[in-house]
Amino acid sequence: MTQSYFPILIMLILAVVIGATILGLNWVLGRHQRNPSKLSPYESGVPPLDENRKRINVRFYQIAMLFILFDIEAAFLYPWAVIYRDAAQGPSGMFLFGEMAVFIGLLAVGYVYVWKKKAFDWH
C-alpha cells in the first residue's frame, strides 16, 4: 500500500525544484535597479512612520487555539463516519450512534461554553 504514496514523494521534490527554478530564472532575467525608496515598505507613497512588526490582537491567537480543538474533533469523526453505515446494519448500530451522540454532545457543551465566554465575538 505504501507504494501508492511514492508518486507523491516524487512530486514533492519536483514541486520544490520547479518553484525554485522559476524564481531563480526570474532573478536572473529580471532587471535590478534598486534605490532606497523602492526598497522601503510600501505605504501608499507616504514615508513609513512606525515600526512595521507591531504587537497584534490576541484574538488571532484565540482563533488559532479554537481551530486546533475543533479541527481535531472533526478529524476524529472521520474514521467513525467511514464505518458507520456498514456497522449500522449489525447489532452494534445503536452503540455506534450513542458513541457519536456522546462525542458531539461533549463538543456542543464546549462550543456553548466558548460562545458564552464571547470567544467568537470579534470587536
Binding site: 508518486p7 512595521n52 507591531k54
Partner: protein
C-alpha cells in the same frame, strides 16, 4: 508488470499530463475571469494580445518572468522567498490524488485515504501566506496575512465537518469509491444539500475569494499579504490561489456531484459503463468531470462580479456561529436517518433529500422579494 513501471513511471507520466492541463486551465481561468468581469461591468476586458486577447495567457507569465524581483529592506530574506513557494507545493501534490476520470487510467496516485490527505495538504496553504505576510516587513502585509490565516483556519472547521456527512453515506475515504457510490445511488448533493452548501461557502472562504476576500481588501489593506511581492513571486501567490480554487471545485464535483459519472441508481454512465467503452469512455468521463468543475469555477467568477465584501466580524460570525452548528446538526440528522433506515428498511438518501429540499425551499420562501413594510411614524421620511 514491472513494479518500477507500475509505481513510478506511469504515475509520473499521468501526473505530468494532468499537471500541464491543470496549469493550462489555471492560466486560462485568469483570462476568462478578467474577460467575464469585463463583460459584467460593461467593458471589454483584455482583448489586445492575440485573437480575443487569448494570447494574454502566454503574455502574462513572460512579463512576470522579466520583471524586477524586489526584496524590500529589512525583510526576512529566507522567509520572504519561502512565502510564495510554500502554498504552491500542496497545490502541486493534490493533483496526484484527484481522479480526473474513471480509474485506473486517470488517477496518478490512488490512495485509500485520499479525502483526508487532500484536506491535510490544502490546509497547509496557510503557512506560506502568513509567512510571506510577516516576512515582508510591511504593516498591510502583516494584517493581510493574519486576517487570511484567521479566515482560512476558521472555515477549515466547517469545511472538514461538512464532508463527514458524505463519508457516512458512502462509507469510504477513497474518492473513487465515493464517486461509485454516488453513481449507484444518487448524487450526494441531494441527500447532503446542507453539507454541500456549507462546503461551497467554506471553500469560497478558504481560497480568499469574494465575498470573503478580506485579506486582499484593496480599499483597506492595499493588496493584503502580497503587497510587497513583485514579479514571479506575486505570480506564485496567484497561481496557488487559482490552483486551490480548481482543487476545491474538483473536490466539490467528486464529493457532491458524482465526479466523472452521469448516473442515478446505477443507471446511466457509471464507472463500469465508461470502463467498458474503453478509451472514448475515459475521454467522455474526463469531459463530464471538466464540465462540472468549470461550472463551479464560473460560479466563483459570478460571485466576484456580484457580491459585496463581508465585514471581518460578520465573516467570523458566519463561520463560527452558523456554519459549525449547522454542520454538526447535519451529522446528527444523517446519523439518525441512516440508523432508522437500516432498522425500518427505507432508503435514507430519499428521506434526507426530501428534508434538505424542504429546508432550502422554506429558506428561499422566507428570502423572497417582498414589499418593504414601513412603520407609520416613518412614512414622512419615505
Amino acid at each position: 508488470m514491472n513494479p518500477w513501471m507500475h509505481y513510478l513511471v506511469w504515475p509520473l507520466v499521468k501526473f505530468l499530463v494532468a499537471f500541464i492541463i491543470v496549469q493550462g486551465i489555471v492560466a486560462a481561468m485568469n483570462w476568462v475571469e478578467r474577460r467575464l468581469l469585463g463583460f459584467v461591468q460593461a467593458r471589454l476586458g483584455p482583448n489586445r494580445v492575440g485573437p480575443k486577447g487569448l494570447l494574454q495567457i502566454i503574455a502574462d507569465p513572460v512579463k512576470f518572468l522579466l520583471k524586477e524581483d524586489i526584496v524590500p529592506a529589512n525583510a526576512e530574506t529566507i522567509a520572504y522567498f519561502l512565502g510564495p513557494i510554500l502554498p504552491l507545493i500542496p497545490t502541486f501534490l493534490v493533483y496526484c490524488l484527484i481522479p480526473f476520470g474513471p480509474p485506473p487510467t486517470f488517477v496518478a496516485a490512488r490512495v485509500n485515504v485520499a479525502v483526508l490527505l487532500v484536506l491535510a495538504l490544502t490546509s497547509t496553504g496557510v503557512y506560506g501566506i502568513i509567512l510571506g505576510g510577516w516576512a515582508s516587513n510591511n504593516k498591510y502585509s502583516l494584517m493581510g496575512g493574519l486576517r487570511s490565516a484567521a479566515q482560512m483556519v476558521s472555515y477549515e472547521v466547517p469545511f472538514g465537518l461538512s464532508i463527514v456527512g458524505v463519508l457516512m453515506l458512502s462509507g469510504s475515504l477513497d474518492l473513487v469509491k465515493i464517486v461509485n457510490y454516488q453513481a449507484d445511488h444518487i448524487w450526494n448533493l441531494f441527500p447532503q444539500l446542507i453539507a454541500a452548501f456549507i462546503f461551497f461557502v467554506a471553500m469560497t472562504a478558504e481560497t480568499n475569494r469574494t465575498p470573503f476576500d478580506l485579506p486582499e481588501a484593496d480599499s483597506e489593506l492595499v493588496g493584503g499579504y502580497h503587497t510587497e511581492y513583485s514579479a514571479m513571486k506575486f505570480a506564485f501567490f496567484m497561481l496557488a490561489e487559482y490552483s486551490a480554487m480548481l482543487v476545491n471545485c474538483c473536490l466539490m464535483t467528486l464529493l457532491f456531484l458524482g465526479g466523472w459519472t452521469l448516473a442515478i441508481g446505477g443507471y446511466g454512465l457509471t464507472t463500469q459503463t465508461l470502463q467498458h467503452m474503453g478509451i472514448p469512455g475515459g475521454m467522455l468521463g474526463v469531459l463530464i468531470f471538466i464540465v462540472k468543475v468549470m461550472t463551479f469555477m464560473l460560479v466563483y467568477i459570478w460571485f466576484r462580479a456580484t457580491f459585496p465584501r463581508f465585514r471581518f466580524d460578520q465573516l467570523m460570525d458566519l463561520g463560527w456561529k452558523w456554519m459549525i452548528p449547522l454542520a454538526l446538526a447535519n451529522i446528527v440528522v444523517t446519523g439518525v436517518v441512516v440508523l432508522l433506515g437500516q432498522s425500518l428498511n427505507f432508503q435514507g438518501e430519499v428521506v434526507l433529500s426530501i428534508a434538505g429540499a424542504a429546508i432550502v425551499g422554506y429558506t428561499l420562501y422566507n428570502l423572497r422579494p417582498r414589499a418593504k413594510v414601513v412603520h407609520a411614524s416613518r412614512v414622512s421620511e419615505v
